[in-house]
């Protein structure tokens, strides 16, 4: 017999197992469920990212504001101390000058 005819006979189609369709439909249902879940995953992840970014930005801003206030307070205290010390020096100089003029 011709090799091509032999191949046609040898390669006749074969039936899959009897429950093939049922198994396919079960896999299809599982995959469809996973796709539905995955459809929500991306928007949820995006929304969570946006919320996290906004909250994070707020916290950073709050921290910077607190730091700015703290720095301003420190500066005010420093200026107050400096001013007080300068006053003391000024008073000392004044006293010294008065006593010298008195002699």
């Amino acid at each position: 017999m011709d090799i091509e005819e032999s191949l046609r006979r040898a390669l006749r189609v074969e039936e899959p197992p009897p429950d093939f369709t049922r198994r396919v439909m079960a896999k299809v249902a599982t995959a469809a469920q996973a796709r539905r879940r995955a459809r929500w995953h991306l928007p949820l992840a995006l929304a969570a990212s946006v919320v996290l970014a906004v909250v994070g930005l707020g916290i950073v801003r709050q921290q910077r504001e607190a730091q700015r206030l703290h720095s301003a307070q420190q500066l005010a205290i420093a200026l107050e101390i400096t001013s007080s010390q300068l006053n003391q020096v000024q008073q000392m100089l004044n006293r010294k000058q008065t006593s010298e003029n008195g002699i």
Binding site: M1, I3, E4, S6, L7, R8, R9, A10, L11, R12, V13, E14, E15, P16, P17, F20, T21, R23, V24, M25, K27, V28, A29, A31, A32, R35
Partner: protein
Amino acid sequence: MSLQVISPALADAPPHPLPPGPALPMPLRGAEVAPVDLVAARNGDDAAFARLVRANQTRVFSVALRLTGSREDAEELAQDAFVQLHAALAQVQNPQHLVHWLLRTITHRGIDRLRARERAPRLVQIESGNEPAGQDAGGDPLWEKRLRALLLQLPDAPRAVVTLRFQEDLEPTEIAEVLDMPVNTVKSHLRRSLEWLRAQQAGDGHGY
């Protein structure tokens, strides 16, 4: 029966692209899907999709079986092809396109499985080559059994070409479209495969 190691024939060949892109529908024989079922399945009718599966499961399973030589692998590949089809129903234009899509998918998946197997050789059970060669092959079940075993010794591309030609009765132009391969390459694979099989039939056991 004997155990043989599948040889790493085309281990460095690039994998086939998946999923198959939109292709021109071909006038494939045996497209037995009712257009109404295709439309219904696209609209989420599971019973209609089950009818699509039943109408095509034999050809899809058989192609996978010829490519892998294993009923277990063939069943898994065929099931996965239908699951992939379910997710891609919107792209399927008509019943002919559906058959073309399935053949493309199962062939590429089968070839990918073979290449993965070549990268990690394992023992697979195939029919032995102990039957006497050179005999008159007229409708001989033993020779047909040996032919199926010989088919599994062909490299993946010629194996797919021979399967689509002699199981699915596709023309070389149709095979070229299914396999994304030039028609001349398909013809060359066919010619070389047939020459090699004839040589095996004549008892000349040289490699492919």
